[in-house]
């Protein structure tokens, strides 16, 4: 097995485009195939910015450092190119797209991965969609609903997981997917991620979270603590438990800028 990292972030500095202020102030991170990394940190630490920079959100701009995905310069790629290369971000706030069904969305997403002139087989697609929904214990009617339109918070997150299951990324970035979820919804999300990992043990996960509780359901290989735009500590799952016991205050004192 090739053990070189799928994602290598080196000295990454980034902020909101057109603003002078860096939110990320030199982030280093390496994720190998099949690893689950969790980034924890208080509000405003920059952890969500990191997710958005990796996915290519147009509002954010890298000012220094690098991010490589499978050896390619991620920062030079458009968001759609990143997705096609295997990056997937589960949004903290999934966007409503009125009038567009989840099925139509996913069909277009898969079509976009084909060569020009090649047509997605609709029968194969239907079968894939059904199989993916079955895997995640979802009702088949779900795919006919317009994307996130009128969805509850839990439904939106389920939709993210379904898309992830259909698109089968090699790196899944979960941007605070757990925030605002009740425990049942949280379990559904965790079950989805774990199921997909079982299916494809090579899938890497970058889990961005404020709370320790999701780590009871998705067990990380590595936990990083982010403060003020930097990763200030890295270690095993025990760090999450320490954080839970101590709170971010201790870290804030220890790592005051």
């Amino acid at each position: 097995m090739d053990d070189s990292p799928i994602l290598t972030v080196t000295g990454l500095e980034a902020g909101v485009a057109d603003e002078d202020l860096d939110i990320l102030k030199g982030v280093d991170l390496a994720i190998r195939p099949g690893e689950i990394h969790a980034i924890m940190g208080p509000n405003g630490s920059g952890k969500s910015t990191l997710a958005k920079v990796i996915a290519g959100h147009p509002e954010y701009e890298a000012t220094d450092g690098s991010a490589e995905f499978n050896g390619e310069d991620l920062l030079e790629m458009e968001p759609d190119e990143r997705a096609q290369a295997g990056v997937f971000m589960a949004f903290q706030y999934p966007v409503e797209i009125p009038g567009v069904s989840i099925a139509n969305f996913m069909r277009t997403a898969l079509q976009s991965r084909l060569e020009d002139g090649e047509e997605l087989d609709l029968f194969d697609f239907q079968e894939l969609l059904m199989e993916r929904m079955e895997l995640l214990d979802m009702d088949v009617s779900f795919a006919q609903r317009p994307v996130n339109d009128g969805f509850s918070g839990g439904e939106k997150k389920r939709n993210e997981i379904l898309q992830m299951a259909v698109l089968k990324p090699s790196l899944a970035v979960m941007d605070e997917t757990d925030s605002g979820l009740d425990i049942d919804a949280l379990k559904i999300v965790a079950h989805g991620v774990n199921t997909l990992r079982q299916e494809n043990p090579e899938m890497s996960v970058l889990l961005i979270t404020h709370y320790q509780r999701i780590l009871n359901h998705i067990v990380p290989d590595r936990v990083h603590v982010m403060m003020n735009g930097k990763i200030v500590e890295s270690g095993g799952p025990e760090i999450a438990l320490e954080l839970e016991a101590q709170g971010y205050e201790e870290y804030r004192k220890a790592h005051a800028a």
Partner: protein
């Protein structure tokens, strides 16, 4: 006015009057009289100017060389010679209960389910129905719904209409499949005047799809349509207009719907083609329990100009109307929506809504939205709203983050945005056809 100008003017009038006589040759006396009177009104009515509020954004004096146009209605065409585009559009239609084909302002074929004909349903060339002395035609043609007195173009149409559709559905007859009008205009620089008269008797049901296509024209080519829709007590009527003309097409329609007690009279105007499209739609709610859903969808690019002028006239109490017009505009396209809800005195318990939403896809497209209310009763529920917005950057990022290319993401958002309108009137075949037409157009954007 100089003498030469006066002479030219005299000649023009003479040519016009002769055109009225020629068009009306073979008509019964009542119709010839109606045409003559309409022509007089036309002559006496000034061309709408941009100084009037209703025509402020569509300068007909500049856009429409009325005096240079030739009447289109020529000899009868043969159904076998129908152009490819029209035949393709017709082949797309699912099972229908009847079809009438009109080429250059003349009906060339009429088909109607025999079982429906046996139950008294009439689907006919309007000209033939008028000449055959059908009493409803004499009573209702250009009288209550779109009379000549309605304005310059209503008068012109009433004077010069060459043919059209008469559809009559007797009491209690319910037609579950659509009836189709497939229109084709072929000659550049011509003017076509068509009328559609539909009468749905009590507790009957029908849906009618009026589709018009044409090639691209090197010169302005006018199609003027007067649509008169009557739904009697408890009837259910749906009228859909699919305007898919080519470049150079100037589509001008006067539509009026008269909904009586407990009847439903819904309309959908789809504007995709032509260079200029102007639709005047007046929905009149004449009896308690009447209902009109008024839907509109427009998608303009290049220099297309769409102008909708709607009114919801609540004459009777306890009636309901709900308007939703949505448009996407790209290139240097222009969209104008001007709508008014009028609640007449005594129309208590009125429920009337009006929404216009626009999606701007370029820096040079312009949308103008002018919703309005005029309320003369006190116990009413009315609302109006208008939005003009651009593609949501967050939505595009969301779609692109799943691998969609920018143009695929934009296409999906536009289709979803416009698709809301279609989902409210899910007529068999119409949704697919319009979606495909929008998709085809998006491919070239």
């Amino acid at each position: 006015m100089s003498q030469a100008t006066a002479v030219r003017e005299e000649v023009r009038r003479e040519i016009g009057r002769r055109a009225v006589m020629e068009t009306g040759a073979g008509d019964p006396a009542w119709l010839r009289a109606r045409r003559d009177e309409a022509w007089n009104i036309y002559e006496a009515t000034p061309l709408p100017s941009t100084r009037s509020e209703e025509w402020r954004y569509t300068d007909v004096a500049r856009l429409l060389p009325l005096d240079e146009l030739e009447p289109a209605a020529g000899g009868p065409a043969h159904a076998a010679a129908l152009p490819e585009e029209l035949r393709l559009a017709m082949a797309q239609d699912r099972e229908s209960a009847g079809r009438i084909v009109d080429v250059d302002g003349r009906v060339v074929s009429v088909e109607l389910d025999e079982a429906l004909a046996a139950r008294g349903v009439v689907l006919a060339s309007l000209r033939e129905a008028a000449r055959a002395g059908v009493p409803q035609v004499e009573a209702l043609l250009a009288t209550e719904a779109v009379p000549a007195a309605d304005g310059k173009f209503a008068a012109l149409n009433a004077a010069l209409w060459s043919d059209g559709v008469f559809l009559y559905v007797p009491r209690g007859v319910r037609i579950d499949r659509t009836i189709r009008l497939s229109r084709w205009v072929s000659r550049p620089g011509t003017a076509t005047f068509t009328r559609i008269l539909i009468v749905a008797e009590e507790h009957s049901q029908l849906s009618f799809v009026d589709e018009i296509l044409s090639p691209d024209f090197p010169a302005v080519t006018l199609v003027n349509t007067a649509v008169e829709l009557f739904s009697r007590g408890g009837a259910q009527v749906q009228y859909v207009s699919l305007q898919r003309m080519g470049e150079g097409g100037f589509y001008l329609a006067n539509q009026r719907t008269l909904a009586e007690r407990d009847s439903t009279l819904d309309t959908l105007n789809v504007a995709l083609g032509g260079s200029v499209g102007r639709v005047d739609l007046n929905a009149r709610l004449l009896g308690p329990g009447a209902n009109s859903d008024m839907l509109g969808l427009y998608f303009g690019d290049a220099n297309q100009h769409f102008d909708f002028n709607t009114s919801q006239d609540h004459v009777a109490p306890h009636a309901h109307s709900d308007l939703l017009y949505k448009g996407a505009l790209d290139g240097a396209a222009r969209g104008i929506f001007r709508g008014i809800i009028r609640v007449h005195e005594g129309a208590q318990g009125t429920d009337a809504y009006q929404t216009n939403r626009n999606l701007i896809l370029s820096d040079t497209a312009i949308a103008t939205s002018l919703p309005n209310l005029e309320i003369e009763a006190d116990d009413v529920r009315c609302s109006h709203g208008a939005t003009v917005g651009q593609l949501d950057a967050e939505a595009l990022f969301y779609l692109m983050s799943r691998g969609l290319r920018r143009e695929q993401a934009e296409r999906l958002v536009v289709l979803g945005f416009l698709g809301e309108v279609l989902s409210k009137l899910p007529l068999g075949g119409v949704v697919e056809k319009v979606t495909q037409a929008i998709e085809a157009k998006l491919r070239y954007v």
